[in-house]
């Protein structure tokens, strides 16, 4: 293939095909390095929800008989570790990807962090004021997560986040309707499960994009 006119003696000339391949490979590398894919966040929160809701289901009485005898304090500790660990892991991933980047996305990120924190604090206060039971508290928090996903999906024209928001609303409503015996299991399977499925597809599609870009 013809090589085009090139004026840098220290930089090898490229054919148009080589240039296009270089663009695609560089775009892929940049997207991966700057964290344009959000599957790690779905993986982190999918694992956290799966463990926490499953453990809570095990201590929930089904026909007056819990599946496992685990002290309440241990269940609370599991939630603390899962949610706290997921928050820290999310922060680490964001910090790792966003270092050395400033501008619009950093400002958006800070505002989103404020929105999520404010929404959860308000939900906690609201749940306490309404005197909600444990699983109803859980339903309120999942409802808040769903609304935040819907808002982000609408603002960023992101169909995936919009879909996750709608799915969580449906799962949350069904789980709440089934009552305390099944609420945690439904969330563990269909809430956490959805996050893990999205993470798996996201990772797979990133790997395919890498192969197409010649990685």
């Amino acid at each position: 293939m013809a090589r085009t006119e090139h004026r840098d003696a220290d930089d090898p000339a490229l054919t148009p095909a080589e240039s296009l391949a270089l663009i695609e490979a560089t775009q892929h590398d940049t997207r991966r390095a700057l964290g344009f894919s959000d599957w790690p966040f779905y993986l982190i929160w999918g694992l956290a929800w799966a463990v926490a809701f499953t453990v809570t289901h095990l201590v929930t009485a089904v026909d007056s008989l819990p599946l496992a005898r685990i002290p309440e304090a241990v269940v609370g500790f599991v939630w603390l570790v899962c949610v706290g660990g997921a928050v820290v892991a999310t922060g680490v991933v964001i910090a790792r990807f966003s270092r050395g980047v400033a501008g619009t996305s950093a400002r958006i990120g800070k505002r989103l962090a404020v929105c999520w924190s404010a929404a959860f604090m308000a939900a906690g206060q609201l749940g306490a004021l309404l005197g909600l039971e444990g699983y109803q508290f859980g339903a309120l928090f999942v409802f808040v997560v769903a609304l935040l996903y819907l808002g982000q999906g609408a603002a960023f024209l992101d169909d995936l986040q919009l879909g996750v928001g709608v799915w969580l609303l449906v799962v949350d409503t069904v789980a709440l309707a089934l009552g305390p015996n099944w609420f945690n299991l439904v969330l563990a399977v269909f809430g956490a499960g959805a996050f893990l499925v999205v993470a798996a597809f996201g990772r797979r599609s990133e790997q395919r994009a890498g192969q197409r870009a010649g990685q």
């Binding site: 085009t4 148009p16 940049t30 700057l34 270092r99 050395g100 400033a102 619009t104 996305s105």
Partner: protein, 110 residues
């Protein structure tokens, strides 16, 4: 040989010589992939491209002279930081370059 057997090669496009150099093409691709309104710190750009500071500076100067990138110097505490961003003109030039390549390669029969 019939007319149908004759393949007419697409004309080689006029490619922007400022962008059409391997190192500068990588710089422009990286900066154009960053979200609009964002900028990269010089060391981060250097790390992404795996280039030496001197080499990257040389290519950035050529791109800056063409009006394709902007370099702003600022201080973080007492540490000087250079922030690199693609300009609107640079983004348009890169998009034109990319489109020309795709059109040329899409139109080729070999």
């Amino acid at each position: 040989m019939t007319d149908a057997d004759v393949t007419v090669p697409a004309a080689l496009p006029e490619l922007d010589p400022v962008i059409h150099a391997q190192a500068r093409l990588r710089v422009m691709t990286t900066l154009s992939t960053v979200a609009e309104g964002d900028r990269l710190a010089f060391p981060r750009l250097q790390e992404l491209l795996d280039m030496t500071a001197g080499n990257l500076s040389t290519h950035l100067r050529k791109l800056e002279d063409a009006g394709y990138v902007g370099v702003d110097k600022a201080y973080r505490g007492r540490t000087p930081v250079s922030w690199v961003t693609i300009t609107r003109r640079g983004r348009l030039a890169f998009e034109g370059y990319h489109e020309a390549l795709r059109a040329y390669l899409g139109g080729r029969n070999d």
